[in-house]
Amino acid sequence: MKVVTGVVGNDIHVVANRLIDISLEERGFEVFNLGVNTYLEEFMDAVIETDADVLLISSLNGEAEGWCRDLKILKSQYDFRDVVFMIGGNLGVGEMDPELIVPKFRNYGFDLVFHQVDLNEGLDRLEATLEARK
């Protein structure tokens, strides 16, 4: 299974990104890590180019919302039906209510949304989703 990952927008928090890379490798994924400071368009291009199964976006600095609201438009330009769109980290500026933030990002077009959720829990959920899709 191929995963494209990275940190979206003008966000340079790299620590989680490094750990995500390691964790995905350990779980047997083939990882294409675009690193920090990656724009949505770059992610989409990489997914197409690598024919990835999963796009796993991180955002830590709180600015995810501004960078992800156009996902629907970008998704409509190509057939991404088989790709799992996933986002996690710290998805808002200030302390956020997960009850409000999760639906918002699902509405932008993410299949799996994890606001301040443990990485392993998130990756377990990803594997379960992939399993179910088989």
């Binding site: 003008n10 340079i12 490094r18 400071n37 709180g62 501004g66 808002g92 500026v93 302390e95 956020m96």
Partner: protein, 453 residues
């Protein structure tokens, strides 16, 4: 018109800003209240200055934040800049600012100073008549710093290394050096008009397992690059390592070496201050524990004898703190510093000797580089991996140095990569490390990142 002035004219002619009136700005700085200059506060105060972090997208929210801070008896106000402005993306900043203003939701993680402009911002700064420190993380900060100084912000954080390696993925480093040279010069120039503008380096770097030797090397290099351009007041800094002893040792060494190298390069007249950052790594998801962590940082800051402490809040793990939480943190830190008495003077000869050696060894290698100017020597040294920080997102960083904690939580160098430290120094580092049978380095690193959780 000087070359510098010509560059300045170009820099400030940006579609996102109003006409920039250099003459008026000069007049303003000449006549500005001494209370706005932290360099003056350092001279006239004997207690540790307390400075929080903080910035919101809109003017009103920052104004209210400052009000809360003042009620908590803050010593230095912060102005933290949003991350679009940090990456010179003024268009995104503008868009997000507009959204923030319309919807009363913060769409930026800081204050887009360039978009607000100096005329507006200065009103707030002079209103509070308290030193303000600019916190950004911008490799090309030329326009930002022009705007800040014109606003009455007379302390500028950052530098070509510390605001690049942790803060950028691929901004060209040579440019960063040149752009910061511009900043130093502008600061030096304005320093002649009134009290000196204070420059501060950002010692925490990527805030994750940074070995003190590399932190200090970078602090001293940025200090020298700044003094070289005529800056007269400079703060070196570092953040809590996770070991009280390592903090004390770092402090003793950086105090000694910053003076030594400043003097050696002919800057006997420059004032050097020490800034301590409360824990900069990952915070616990428990606000009470965060309070405990913050208080412990405060006690350590007092023990290391810093001139200024930069505070965190109980909201750190959750997001940008509310103004109330932020002001409460300031009040608590002030309380602790006020009641904490009878601080012993601590030192550790062996550790200090080793750290001093490492710093001297790396600096010697940097100075021995064949380039003609100091900034080129530093640039080459980073390219060669002589200076290499763990967990940098930047492509130029060698990423070969690996650090883990010893049983006392001191950060030690496990793999030295291209660091030009002696075998003796490296043996000392390695001698402290205890990896359990079969323990994987990656697991140890994950654990060592999360020691405060």
């Amino acid at each position: 018109m000087s070359l510098l002035q010509r560059e300045r004219e170009i820099i400030v002619s940006n579609e996102y800003i109003d006409r920039f009136d250099f003459e008026e700005v000069e007049e303003f700085i000449k006549g500005a209240s001494k209370n706005l200059f932290i360099s003056h506060t350092f001279k006239t105060t004997d207690h540790m200055l307390v400075q929080p972090r903080g910035g919101f997208p809109t003017y009103n929210k920052v104004f209210q934040l400052y009000k809360e801070f003042k009620e908590a008896h803050v010593d230095v106000l912060p102005l933290t800049i949003d991350s679009n402005t940090r990456l010179n993306d003024y268009a995104s900043a503008k868009k997000m600012l507009a959204l923030s203003e319309e919807n009363d939701v913060d769409m930026l993680n800081g204050y887009p100073l360039v978009n607000h402009g100096y005329r507006t911002t200065r009103k707030m700064i002079t209103h509070y008549d308290t030193p303000v420190s600019l916190r950004h993380g911008t490799p090309d900060a030329r326009l930002l710093i022009e705007t800040a100084l014109a606003s009455g912000i007379f302390e500028i954080e950052g530098g070509p290394i510390t605001y690049l390696l942790p803060y950028s993925k691929n901004f060209p480093m040579d440019k960063a050096f040149l752009y910061w040279k511009y900043v130093e010069r502008v600061c030096a120039k304005y320093s002649e008009l009134n009290e000196p503008i204070n420059r501060e380096s950002f010692g925490p770097l990527s805030a994750t397992l940074q070995p003190p030797a590399i932190v200090i090397v970078i602090q001293l290099l940025e200090m020298l690059l700044s003094l070289e351009e005529g800056v007269k007041s400079f703060s070196v800094s570092f953040s809590q390592t996770g070991s009280m002893l390592q903090d004390i040792v770092s402090s003793n060494v950086i105090k000694k070496l910053s003076r030594k190298y400043a003097d050696r390069f002919g800057h006997e007249d420059a004032t050097i201050n020490l800034v301590y950052h409360q824990w900069m790594g990952a915070f616990p998801y428990n606000k009470e524990y965060s309070d405990s962590l913050i208080n412990t940082s405060t006690v350590i800051a007092a023990m290391v004898g810093a001139d200024k402490i930069i505070t965190k809040t109980r909201n750190e793990a959750f997001g940008i703190p509310t103004k109330e939480a932020n002001a409460m943190a300031v009040a608590n830190v002030k309380y602790t510093l006020g009641m904490l008495k009878g601080l012993p003077t601590v030192s550790d000869e062996e550790e200090e000797e080793n750290l001093t050696n490492e710093v001297d060894e790396i600096l010697e290698a940097v100075f021995n580089d064949g380039a003609d100017t100091l900034w080129r020597k530093v640039f080459n040294s980073i390219k060669k991996g002589y200076v290499d920080i763990p967990f940098s997102p930047h492509i130029i960083n060698a990423n070969e140095v690996i650090t883990i904690r010893d049983p006392q939580s001191n950060i030690r160098i496990l793999k030295k990569g291209k660091l030009p430290i002696s075998d003796r120094s490296f043996a000392f580092e390695r001698s402290k490390i205890k990896l359990a049978e079969g323990e994987r380095v990656v697991d140890k690193i994950i654990q060592d990142i999360g020691i405060m959780l």
